[in-house]
């Protein structure tokens, strides 16, 4: 089997959904072109944007940075990055170091912000508490708050995250199966929040399957942190992911069709189910909040409790 595009006999991928075989160079080019196409189609970037990349050092965020950097090289946008250090021993530091090296290589403004410095506690310490709610709940909330805050402080106009096709399809199916119509309205390539305190979030890799992102970083020899978090749990997301991947074996277009279907009904969902945004502020930290305290501060209060 030779490369469908250029005839090179050394192919590295068989695209099940199209039957195409691609060599290394044609594969790399196809990924970059596809991301650029998503950026154009969904109007993810405006000239003059300063894009903050949420850079964990993992394959998805490194790929996001790498491809968005081509827009920076064309002087269309500026890029900065933030890495959140949750404080997970024997795991997080490698990713942080890799993130620092990428930022230095590209010469971009970069901050590493730790949970410890921001909230006075590490994830490891939280996990020692008897009343904790499970690692990932804290990670998600604290990370989001830290990234939003960094975006404002660094003057970013957009926040780019590494969400890939698998992440997005899992989120669509999970929220659907759980009947969570509120969360279902919030997915998509670009989340626009009415609150101006929240920077617009974009997902440039939304149409790239996770496996292809892994292949891309290996093919391009990009340094990334491949490792599993010690706190990774059995989760509903994991179960949904297994089912989708199982279905995908015999139906290789299913992830794309789920995404396309969602995109078609998204506006109707928004019209019918979107909740009014509350313009409150957290009394403790000043971040936008639905209640008296924002989610992050209420977690901290609860952990202090005993």
């Amino acid at each position: 089997m030779d490369c469908t595009k250029c005839g090179n006999p050394n192919v590295i991928i068989k695209k099940e959904q199209s039957g195409q075989y691609l060599c290394k160079d044609c594969f790399i080019e196809s990924i970059e072109k596809k991301v650029i196409k998503t950026v154009r189609k969904e109007k993810l970037l405006d000239k003059g944007d300063k894009v903050l990349v949420a850079l964990s050092g993992g394959k998805d965020s490194v790929t996001t940075l790498e491809i968005l950097n081509s827009f920076r090289e064309l002087n269309i946008i500026d890029i900065c990055a933030v890495t959140v250090d949750e404080g997970i021993d024997n795991y997080r530091q490698d990713g942080v170091d890799i993130a620092i090296r990428h930022a230095e290589r590209l010469g971009i403004e970069h901050r590493v912000v730790s949970l410890k410095d921001t909230y006075g506690i590490t994830l490891d310490e939280i996990m020692q508490k008897p009343n904790h709610r499970g690692s990932c709940s804290y990670c998600g909330v604290f990370r989001r708050t830290i990234i939003n805050k960094a975006a404002r402080e660094m003057g970013a106009t957009k926040i780019a995250t590494g969400h890939n096709l698998d992440d997005e399809v899992q989120a669509i199916m999970m929220n659907y199966l759980e009947g969570n119509t509120d969360n279902l309205t919030k997915l998509g390539a670009k989340t626009e929040s009415e609150a101006e305190e929240f920077t617009v979030k974009i997902k440039p890799l939304r149409e790239i399957p996770e496996h292809e992102i892994g292949l891309y970083v290996v093919a391009k020899e990009l340094e990334v942190h491949f490792a599993g978090c010690p706190y990774a749990q059995q989760s509903f997301r994991g179960e949904v992911s297994d089912v989708i991947n199982k279905l995908n074996e015999a139906h290789p277009t299913i992830k794309y069709s789920t995404l396309r279907g969602y995109d078609k009904i998204k506006n109707a969902l928004k019209d019918d189910f979107k909740k009014d945004y509350s313009h409150g502020r957290c009394v403790k930290c000043g971040e936008p909040a639905a209640n008296k305290l924002c989610k992050a501060c209420s977690f901290i209060e609860e952990l202090k409790g005993d």
Binding site: Y21, K24, V218, F226, C229, G238, N245
Partner: protein, 67 residues
């Protein structure tokens, strides 16, 4: 007929159990999923349908972890 398998910092010599034994067969025999790894044969990325030859070094790189 043997090949070397490299996976997650372990390196071991393995027999080729049958004719036309592919990397995909190997991944299945190891109880892994083709979703979570990419494969190299003698340091070059290859597709999983590639047949393993005597003396090959096959490297499986885990790219997807839970969580």
């Amino acid at each position: 007929m043997v090949f070397t398998l490299k996976y997650n910092n372990v390196s071991e010599s393995r027999e080729i159990p049958q004719e036309y034994y592919t990397i995909k067969d190997l991944i299945m025999d190891l109880g892994l999923s083709t979703q979570t790894v990419v494969s190299k044969q003698n340091d070059e990325l290859v597709i999983e349908d590639t047949v393993i030859n005597d003396g090959d070094e096959i490297k499986l790189i885990q790219i997807i972890y839970g969580g």
